[in-house]
Symmetry: D2
Subunit: 341 residues, 4 copies
């Protein structure tokens, strides 16, 4: 019973199978292969926009490289204080940008809001003494399992653009957010003002495949160099692009995300019905964050359930339970049963 | 007929198959999985030494991260002027080290020699005005298809150590060099004074798998952080480690390398028997570098043979022909035939 | 009437005069001059300790270079959220360290406390996913004009050392803090556990002179390279070292600081006696931070008084009034009078 | 008798005097002072162009910051292999740019030529595998005491611009080159195609003052941030700008340079008349580079003459003799006498 992370599960069979298919014959290396070309076209169609696409193998690479393209060394990136880029990537954005600052803002439900951004900007009024606010980064779905509504994204984008900043979206769980909103990829990104996207696939079924997407191709001008210089240009790129192709094929990505979201919803529903357990945030994607008595969390751990004690207070624990595309349905029911008894 | 690069070919079937085997069940992510643990043990046995092992997905990442661990921001790395780290990695080592200098030295056959190192050191006598010489990096096999003999490595290591530097080996084609020398991995590395190794597998049959190996575990102290901060800690690491396990299993790596080397030897032999064609360097690994009349190279290209015109002079061209673990034997014979006629 | 900054005033006459004295004859450049040697000896005597001394020309350089020596690229520096390194140096520490993180902690009176450090460390428990906590930095006197007591420094140092971190002190206003505590330089630094010090002189009478001081010479090993690489090794160093010599000569630094502190105390006393004005923090060095009605602050500005509106609330303003070594005594009295009327 | 370096001498009396004049009253700090404003106007007049001016305190800072503004992290700077930025600044440009590459080219008389640039560019044809050639940097006067003619600069600028690169001039000895050519500052810079200039003053009479000058103000957009972030924004900037004002006042800079050049010419003439001594390069500025028998160089050192053995061969030594604005005329005559006997 493993709710530790989406990464605890392996790869979707269709994606694994794509690697064999990609293995025949010779190919041009370093991304000049046919699979990469097809992928770029496929993504452009899905996003209904001219885009620049750059496959990479980790979410940290996607985020940090994208931010380095959007924010100069003397700039600042505004993000939520609990965002992955702020607390889980060993300050990779600071390294890739050449020393930019991450301004870590407060916000309910792990979400940024225009007001928080405006207030933060007031603290950057010192000219060259403060880094120049250059980009805003939001996570969709968030690190608390919530999802930005389209108008929330729009409002943040407007605020960012008004102040000469760009908007980056960390979409490590992009598909989960997308099916949660029931909108199109275009609506959730460039139509809402997003300038650059870390398009995640690993958590939702790939082995190791993400893509950085720029909606203004000019912004991508230097990205190809940055990716190479960071050692993130995979030589046999066909094997990364093939994963992403299979991920999109027949809407596998959406099906996987729907399944995970639905199970998470069920898990959240089941847990919140238990006395003493309350949800820390609405279940809008594939993560459940539930406050429970310390003793209950301890017992569940003891009984073999794997999950993070996300926050620990004297009396209670906020359990983080992540449901992946491959989590057995039975595990969800079983966990609820265990928690009840 | 593709002699462009080892990367033009896909993956060895055994390595591809290992991914399916690795796909069952849940696993701890970020390298704390069972496959990664087994791999570390296996490599320690192969190298007959306590080692620290860090899988990554590209050779550039392996080299640049290793050098960042060996050379401070204010240091210098001494390497051959034609080495991969010097000319093919978009100055990744400069980025990862935080601005260290690559001193690019001359040397026959793409090899460094103690004398060249000593001469270069004389130019770094200016105290803080010059970066501090901190590491020497050699490529085994070299970018010209040659292989350092054990006593050559030893002599370089001694020179490096005498001057307070460490020795890094870029082993993108480690297996090819190893079977060429017919020695043990231990003999070619720590027994000869190598401190850190980029252990390549991608060119010799993996999809995307290399490993950084430190023979003094203390040197690796900070490496785990550096890998994460550079976005090179793959979340579902089992899929990278599984490739490396399969690569080593039943000596697949050695068999692949032997095959490629033998074909390269045959290709070199066939070409050098042709009037007007001479080898630019002895064929000691899986690369053939042959001077040929410009017209001949042009004709071969026209006839569909893929290879690099590595150097171009007014009258002649140095063709680079790389034979991979998967290059069809018939292609070698056919190429020689084409060149003859 | 200028209370904007210590930097608004020029240089002390004795320090200016020292430049002429330093101008005769030829000298070895880049810090190998006689003045620099004398300075190092003088500072070692003053601090009663073997030290490594590195003059530089700005406080930002002193801080950022010192932190780069104490904190690796993958590390974190714990500091107060309002500290100069966190908010006034354009993220220079992030640049000089190669991308380290500044963890910006809360604390009353712009001071850090062991408890805040311990709490922050709990958030860095994620292994390589979080930067490694490597150094703590405190400002003495603080950005709110307060001064750490000796036992407060000791407690912070103990906490830092217990967790494998070092302690840096930003002493841009070192002299002001020192005379405030009435202790020795040794007591306020290494005897209290400080590992590295940015020793400020510019704000207290120099033209452009600070010094980075390490109390463990081994820690300074790489500093000379870092200073050069950052363009902070002044060629005619005698002119920087001469400033620092004159600064220390006949205890000029202490006299200047005592004068400024006393005037600040008088200014604080005068203001706090005015109805509607309250001190935001005790006046312990040369800065006065006073809450006053918005209208009063506006009137004072209008009447020609220069000072920062440090914080602005709907009804009131926190005025920052800095008294320098050269602020006319009459200005203090006059300002109080103006505020009263 | 000191011919070691221009830096061995102190400051011109007029420049020293300017510091006292600059010391009265309060001023806005961080470059917003009246002296800095006057300096910017004065330099614009001298260069007959709209410019952006940024005073800094070292030549290394000027060069490295300028190059960081002209060359992205993934770029390359083409320069002479013996240039100051390549061999005397501890790889500061690599640090400030975030890891750019310095391509170090050959060239007679320490000069670059269009042909060498074109040849080097051919080695950067690998797309993202090579850093993007972004800037060319030349030193005027060169590290071998030679001076680029106006048409030589123009030809280099044309070559650089044709390939999408910018041209930086390291003018640590700008005045010496200017009076040598007898042209205007405009002619030697923007009229010849120079985009950015490190305008040196320290070697020619200042205590610690250089200025970075951009002839296209747009290129300077981010420079103010970079200077601050690197700790090179001096708080009491009036004292740096005052030095530069005095340097330009009454053409002091030109007079100092003319004096030094004339003495160098005399020194070169005297030495070249001695049997066994030959000039390694024509004396076009304030440096003399003379081959002499090893025994002669050794004797001169023994007799107390300070100079560098710039290159050492088995039989002979290339002595570097730098004449500064303040070198006593008698020393030149005396040195020639000593060398003769």
């Amino acid at each position: 019973m493993n709710f530790i992370s989406d990464n605890a599960y392996g790869a979707a069979p269709q994606i694994l199978a794509s690697l064999s298919a990609a293995n025949s014959g010779t190919e041009t290396s370093y991304g000049e292969d046919a699979a990469s070309a097809r992928l770029a076209e496929k993504l452009a169609a899905i996003f209904e926009h001219e885009i620049a696409v750059f496959p990479v193998v980790t979410g940290t690479a996607a985020n940090a490289l994208a931010l380095a393209a959007l924010c100069p060394p003397y700039g600042a990136v505004l993000c939520h204080k609990d965002s992955h880029i702020a607390v889980d990537e060993c300050a990779a954005p600071e390294f890739f940008t050449g020393g930019a600052k991450l301004a870590q803002l407060e916000g309910d439900g792990a979400k940024l809001a225009p007001r928080a951004i405006e207030q933060a900007l007031a603290r950057f009024g010192g000219g060259v003494h403060s880094p120049r606010p250059s980009a805003v980064s939001i996570t969709q779905a968030t690190e608390l399992g919530t999802v930005y509504k389209l108008d929330e994204i729009r409002a943040i984008a407007d605020t960012a653009h008004k102040h000469g900043m760009t908007l980056h979206m960390d979409g490590a769980r992009f598909a989960n957010a997308l099916v949660s909103l029931g909108c199109t990829p275009a609506q959730m990104t460039w139509k809402a003002g997003v300038d650059a996207l870390s398009f995640g696939a690993t958590k939702n079924g790939a082995l190791c495949a993400e893509a950085v997407i720029f909606f203004d191709k000019a912004r991508a001008e230097d990205f190809a160099y940055r990716r190479k210089k960071a050692g993130h240009l995979v030589s046999k790129m066909r094997f990364i692009s093939a994963q992403l192709e299979a991920y999109l094929e027949n809407d596998l990505w959406l099906a996987n995300a729907r399944r995970a979201n639905a199970l998470a919803k069920a898990l959240g529903g089941g847990l919140s019905a238990i006395a003493g357990v309350t949800l820390a945030a609405p279940v809008e994607a594939n993560g459940v964050f539930a406050w429970m008595p310390k003793a209950l969390a301890a017992r569940l751990h003891k009984q073999g359930a794997k999950f993070y004690d996300w926050m620990v207070e004297p009396e209670r624990v906020m359990a983080r339970l992540i449901v992946s595309f491959a989590t057995p349905e039975a595990d969800v029911a079983k966990f609820i049963e265990m928690a009840k008894s």
